[in-house]
């Protein structure tokens, strides 16, 4: 202890009843380490797993449960599993675990449905391009995101449509006609060499699930934002229309929306204009997701303080710029958990399109387990575990990504 401290203490000790009237601190107090800072896994376990009697009991119960469930699970999933086999013979043997050989044999079908095998590169290319664009857009700190956005929302959907669907006879004839009229050789070559048509009734599997989910996500965010803005707008007609749409679609189960899209759209639209059988559920899913997104976004808009609007208006920003640059960035940051929650729900809800005859991934898994070459006691379980793992990986990935973004965005705004 330094000189002045000791002096002050002894002064106090001399007259314990009376605190000194005048006190001036000299020197500074030393920095001491905080108490009880002991590291190591043992200290961690003691603090977190056995901190109290209840916590210790819960820890023990959890360990007991794991000890009971894990060995069987590991045995079924890994040790007793059949990893390669030409058909279901090996998997039917008693005591056999998961039949991964079956997944391997059916993987192409699970991935592409009945899409012609020699053309699956078109699907692969579409998915790869989409994934590359998605990484570009989602990568924190990536450059030129404006261009990425334009490509993703503008060029990519058209390119994907062409790649996946190809040119039908109509389009080919139309292009050929234009080529003949204008005498353009390039157009004629395009018309002649364009990718052949793959009708949507051959599409299926994982790629259709991803397609439905992607369309839902890509449409629902901007449309949801527009609906939310419309619902809060001062123009009564716009507000009324948005409220109507939101409340009606939200008040109806997705299955009903899908049935209605499937059976009612053709009633209102002339037959030759009637949307494709895959297009109808796509519209239904996108609409349904948008309406939920609108309500999530509205919550965020309400959480942005009035002062932010006033600050933006006082600077002379137009309404569009105020919303785009000030309000929406803050509102959307606030609702990231809700948005991702909607995306996850949407991703899993895509399995419902099977009800209107779309051959999505789960439907593909569901039909193949009855294949006589493979049918057996473990086949169904294997297929569904595989499907569950697939959905889990995607949903968990989204959840982790959103957590990371929340942390990044929260950085720099703490006091």
């Amino acid at each position: 202890m330094s000189e002045p401290h000791a002096a002050a203490l002894s002064a106090r000790n001399a007259e314990p009843a009376r605190p000194p009237h005048v006190f001036v601190r000299a020197g500074g107090a030393p920095d001491l380490p905080p108490p009880g800072l002991v590291g190591g896994p043992l200290a961690w376990a003691q603090a977190n797993l056995f901190g109290s009697a209840l916590s210790a009991a819960l820890t023990l119960a959890s360990l007991a449960f794991l000890a009971w469930a894990l060995p069987d699970l590991v045995r079924w999933l890994l040790l007793d599993a059949v990893w390669s086999a030409p058909d279901g013979e090996a998997c039917r043997r008693p005591g056999a675990g998961a039949c991964w050989a079956y997944i391997g044999a059916k993987l192409e079908f699970f991935a592409y449905g009945s899409y012609p095998r020699e053309m699956t590169w078109r699907v692969d290319l579409t998915l790869a391009l989409g994934a590359a664009l998605a990484v570009w857009l989602l990568w924190p700190g990536a450059r030129r995101k404006g261009l990425g956005l334009a490509l993703f929302f503008g060029a990519y959907p058209l390119l994907a449509l062409y790649l996946l669907h190809g040119l039908g006879d109509y389009a080919r004839a139309l292009l050929g006609g234009i080529a003949a009229l204008t005498g353009s050789a390039t157009l004629r070559d395009v018309a002649r060499n364009a990718l052949p048509l793959v009708p949507t009734n051959l599409w299926g599997g994982i790629f259709v699930s991803l397609l439905v989910a992607t369309v839902g996500i890509v449409v629902s965010l901007p449309l949801g934002v527009l609906l939310a803005l419309g619902r809060r707008s001062k123009a009564p007609v716009a507000r009324f229309l948005c409220v109507m749409l939101i409340e009606i679609v939200r008040g109806v189960p997705l299955i009903t929306v899908l049935f209605m899209a499937n059976t009612m759209l053709p009633l209102f639209v002339p037959a030759e204009w009637s949307p494709d059988r895959l297009m109808r559920p796509l519209i239904g899913v996108a609409l349904f997701a948008s309406v939920y997104m609108a309500e999530v976004v509205r919550g965020g808009l309400q959480a942005v303080p009035k002062g932010q609007y006033e600050g933006a208006m006082a600077l002379g920003l137009s309404w569009t710029n105020m919303m785009r640059l000030i309000v929406l960035p803050q509102a959307l940051t606030i609702v990231i958990p809700g948005v991702v929650n909607s995306f996850i729900a949407l991703f899993k809800d895509t399995t419902l399109v099977a009800i209107v005859g779309i051959f999505d991934f789960l439907r593909a898994v569901d039909t193949q387990r009855l294949d006589p070459a493979w049918a057996g006691p473990t086949i169904s379980a294997t297929g569904y575990v595989f499907a569950a793992a697939f959905y889990f990986v995607f949903c968990f990935g989204m959840s982790r990504y959103s957590l990371m973004m929340e942390r990044r965005l929260a950085r720099g705004r703490r006091h």
């Binding site: 208006m313 006082a314 600077l315 002379g316």
Partner: protein, 253 residues
């Protein structure tokens, strides 16, 4: 008070004639007349709830007046959104609670509107922002986020942000009343130096020292009416209206 002819002379920055405003049935502004000459500094004071904020928020249409006329730099405020935006571009406002954009850095706060409404190139907007951040003496904070700064620093950023639009008029709505006492001075100093350079200012404030130092005129408003406008010496030494005397006796002790 009756509506008088509007002069629209270039020497007048703001003209308010018989301005009325109601919140529902509540009559907040009851025929306010006020002229602010170019380069003039006016301090507005009055009891809480008297309509001070409402008055200056009418000048840049954050509130809409329902009767009377307001001209800002010769342009009359109407429902025309384009004109409102033009008037706002020429009218800087500083709020009690700063209203900085928390998701943007200090520099981005200052360059946002110059880039998007004045269409300045980014380089130029940044140079201008740095110039004004130096003026308010916080250039070193340019890359921080607003909430990482102290209240006084945030308010100085808010002033710099408004100045980056090169406004012809500055409106201050109690800029120091949300600040801790030791930060009031740094903000007032900034405002004093701005005033000394000839900026046209309307300041709602209870900082009577500031009013004495820089104001050309002090206006006292109570229950939605301007009761007295005078030069600061006269206003503080020889207030005429009974309610002005009462108000001054309460805040100057």
């Amino acid at each position: 008070m009756s509506a008088q002819a509007l002069s629209a002379s270039p020497d007048v920055a703001i003209e308010m004639r018989d301005v009325h405003k109601w919140y529902g049935r509540f009559h907040v502004l009851k025929g306010v007349d006020l002229d602010v000459a170019r380069g003039e500094r006016i301090v507005v004071c009055g009891p809480s709830g008297s309509g001070k904020s409402t008055l200056i928020r009418c000048v840049n249409r954050l509130e809409t007046h329902q009767r009377g006329r307001i001209l800002v730099n010769g342009l009359e405020l109407t429902d025309d959104q384009k004109r409102i935006e033009a008037i706002r571009r020429d009218t800087g406002m500083v709020f009690q609670h700063f209203n900085l954009f928390p998701h943007l850095t200090v520099l981005e706060n200052c360059t946002l509107s110059p880039i998007w409404t004045l269409r300045l190139p980014q380089k130029e907007a940044e140079a201008r922002a740095m110039y004004f951040l130096e003026r308010v003496r916080i250039p070193e904070q340019a890359h921080k986020y607003p909430l990482q700064l102290s209240g006084g620093q945030q308010q100085r950023v808010a002033i710099a942000r408004a100045l980056c639009m090169a406004p012809k008029v500055m409106l201050f709505d109690e800029p120091t009343s949300a600040l801790d006492p030791e930060m009031v001075k740094e903000v007032l100093d900034t405002m004093v130096s701005l005033a000394k350079e000839g900026m046209t200012m309307i300041c709602v404030t209870h900082e009577m020292g500031f009013a004495r130092e820089v104001a050309d005129r002090v206006a006292f408003i109570d229950r939605g009416e301007i009761l007295e406008v005078d030069k600061p010496e006269a206003f503080f030494l020889r207030p005429q209206h009974e309610r002005t005397k009462l108000f001054l006796s309460q805040i100057l002790r």
